[in-house]
């Protein structure tokens, strides 16, 4: 619930501040109001300090005017009125980031020994992990870990390029172990979170709790450990956690973008320990696997994806699965909004700018070159004074394309065509518009050139 006082205050601020000030500093503030008190919450200390410095006095004045009360209390703090729940596939309640009690908003993320938030994404399972040559070994090793946690593959070290499914596999192991044993203490976290958690523990003098928490786990999943590079204190702490868990017969799974030995800025002793278990590589998926991934995603989104469309996307997007998913989402969103069926033509049209990013490179010179090649004439003919029909038409087509595809002014376009007057360019463009209506050959040429230039 937003407060009435804040609404009125906001209306006044809307008159006094620029849209950018409002959107960046004021509108993101969360508010709560009770008994002549207005509590404002900023997402972080940077925003809080900025608001304090630049707008707080103004807010106070406005509120005093609205309420005719000089003693109204307005406080500004970091936090969130209603912290959003993390994804919670679990029966354990999520930890609030800030206290919902408005009197003393504070950042509290205290590890609990009783109930833990595992941060696993239930969407990542073995069932929807598409297996191919590129990831066969990694999947087999992960299944082994599920069968026999803390067995021979400990730590399981999954490495490979970005967006290839390392995180997916890691969550799948966690979810499966949890399903087999709902009591298992499992935590997934990104290495950055480990670092933040440790820094907070250091600040609040709660290192013992921190150590106790991590060393009490059955399975620890840490993503992207390359981000430990250069963070010596975190490495030190992680080293001890790592040893304690391993000695206690607990499972560790790590992901990284490269082989352990290749991580610069990581202590040798950690590199060597990471290699103790099984380092296994995930390679970029081959075409058939990419097609299968798209089909699986389409199935999850409950849409029918014709095979030729899946092949079309998969052939063009090779680098990573996130981009594959992004492209599919774009095709789906467009189909949803336009109500059109997903066909090959439709996908080509939708992804045109994504797949061929060349239209940024469109220059008048480029247009002239393409038009000259298309009509098999020389570029110099386009600049010349020749009035032969075989030259004037292509020249006019090039002029019209320059006007449509670039931002140059008509005099600038005129200059690029051998110093012609801007009225000549205007005439040329009009002529082509007319001819496209009456002469299908010209229309076809123009459409072809447009396609060539923007592909």
């Amino acid at each position: 619930m937003s407060s009435a006082l804040w609404d009125q205050c906001l209306q006044r601020l809307e008159q006094e501040l620029s849209d950018q000030q409002l959107n960046t500093w004021i509108r993101p503030l969360q508010t709560e109001e009770s008994n002549n008190q207005l509590f404002l919450f900023a997402p972080n200390s940077f925003v809080m300090d900025w608001v304090k410095q630049h707008f707080l006095q103004q807010i106070i004045t406005i509120c005093q005017q609205i309420t005719s009360d000089q003693n109204i209390s307005i406080s500004l703090d970091i936090g969130s009125k209603n912290p959003k729940p993390q994804f919670k596939p679990t029966n354990t309640p999520s930890q609030p980031i800030a206290s919902p009690a408005p009197k003393q908003p504070s950042m509290v993320t205290k590890p609990s020994n009783v109930k833990i938030e595992h941060h696993l994404n239930i969407g990542f399972t073995f069932d929807n992990f598409i297996e191919g040559k590129s990831n066969q070994l990694a999947k087999a090793a992960s299944l082994q870990v599920v069968e026999n946690p803390a067995g021979s593959y400990n730590p399981l070290f999954l490495y490979g390029g970005v967006g290839l499914g390392k995180t997916h596999l890691m969550h799948a192991v966690g979810n499966q172990i949890l399903q087999n044993n709902p009591q298992a203490r499992i935590v997934y976290l990104h290495s950055e979170r480990f670092v933040t958690h440790m820094i907070k523990a250091l600040q609040h003098n709660t290192m013992d709790e921190f150590k106790q928490f991590y060393r009490s786990l059955d399975v620890l999943l840490i993503d992207d450990i390359q981000f430990f590079a250069g963070k010596e204190r975190s490495q030190e702490e992680f080293f001890h956690t790592f040893n304690a868990l391993l000695e206690g017969g607990r499972q560790i799974i790590l992901t990284c973008d490269r082989y352990p030995k290749e991580i610069d800025g990581l202590e040798e002793r950690l590199k060597s320990r990471f290699g103790w278990g099984l380092p296994v590589c995930i390679e970029p998926p081959e075409l058939e696997t990419r097609v299968a991934i798209l089909q699986k995603k389409a199935e999850e989104f409950d849409i029918v994806l014709p095979n030729e469309v899946a092949f079309f996307i998969a052939k063009r997007i090779r680098s990573n699965i996130r981009e594959l998913e992004g492209s599919l989402r774009r095709v789906m969103a467009t189909a949803n909004f336009t109500g059109k069926p997903i066909t090959l033509e439709f996908a080509k049209d939708t992804l045109r700018d994504l797949i061929a990013l060349h239209d940024r490179l469109i220059t008048i010179e480029n247009i002239q070159k393409t038009v000259a090649e298309y009509y098999k004439i020389r570029i110099s003919d386009l600049h010349s004074n020749s009035r032969s029909r075989s030259i004037t038409r292509p020249r006019q087509v090039a002029m019209a394309l320059s006007k449509e595809l670039t931002n140059h002014s008509l005099p600038e376009i005129g200059n690029a065509f051998g110093g012609r007057d801007h009225t000549t360019i205007l005439h040329g463009c009009r002529k082509i518009t007319e001819l496209r209506e009456s002469d299908s050959k010209i229309d076809e040429d123009y459409t072809n050139l447009l396609r060539i230039l923007s592909n």
Binding site: D19, P28, P43, P83, K84, D257, R329, R330, A333, S409
Partner: protein, 230 residues
Amino acid sequence: MFTQLTLDITLKDSFTFDNFIVGENQLLVDLLKKIEAEKQIYVWGMHNTGKTHLLQALCQYFSSSRINTSYLPLHQLINYSPEVFYGQEEMDVCCIDDVQLLQNKTDWQEALFDLINRARENNTRLIIAANQPPTEIKLDLKDLISRLQWGPVFKLSELNDTGKCQALKQRAQCRGFDLSDNVANYLLNNCHRDTADLFAVLDALDKAQLQQHRRLTIPFVKSVLDDQLR
């Protein structure tokens, strides 16, 4: 000859959907307005295609429905600290503008990377804008590039001449005068047709007509433009 001084009042140009000329971007605008549609959308477009306007309009639009939304313009914030990304996952929607400015800024890239991860977990909607597609921005952090491609990537199409003409007339109206079709077309045919350049010309014309107590006719416009070129 003395020129009359005009009162230097900067007009507040508001960025809302009311004055956003959609042109060929209807689908993208519809998608952005639908909060539950996609959790991450990347919008790119050349300089002056209206990205900033679009993102701010979105902020205003969501905020008016009590959807907690923030707008982070990196051209302004990049001089400060990446700390501004902290806690943004507590927003319902977070719009980040000018992501291309993160080139060569490793700490900022890592901070955005972390924010994207946290936003995913928290179900926060991220709208990211830049002047180039994700693969073309020269970012050191490959993990970030792949995450920028997670959701659909859309190109914001530039306005065509009809749209630009409409934008010019609308802007003139905001400044309290009418721009005739003739003059608008004259500007489109004789000036560089980048929207920002056209707006700058329009502002110069506005100032000139106030100083010289003239109406905006083509001969007058021509003389002002000639003066500017001199």
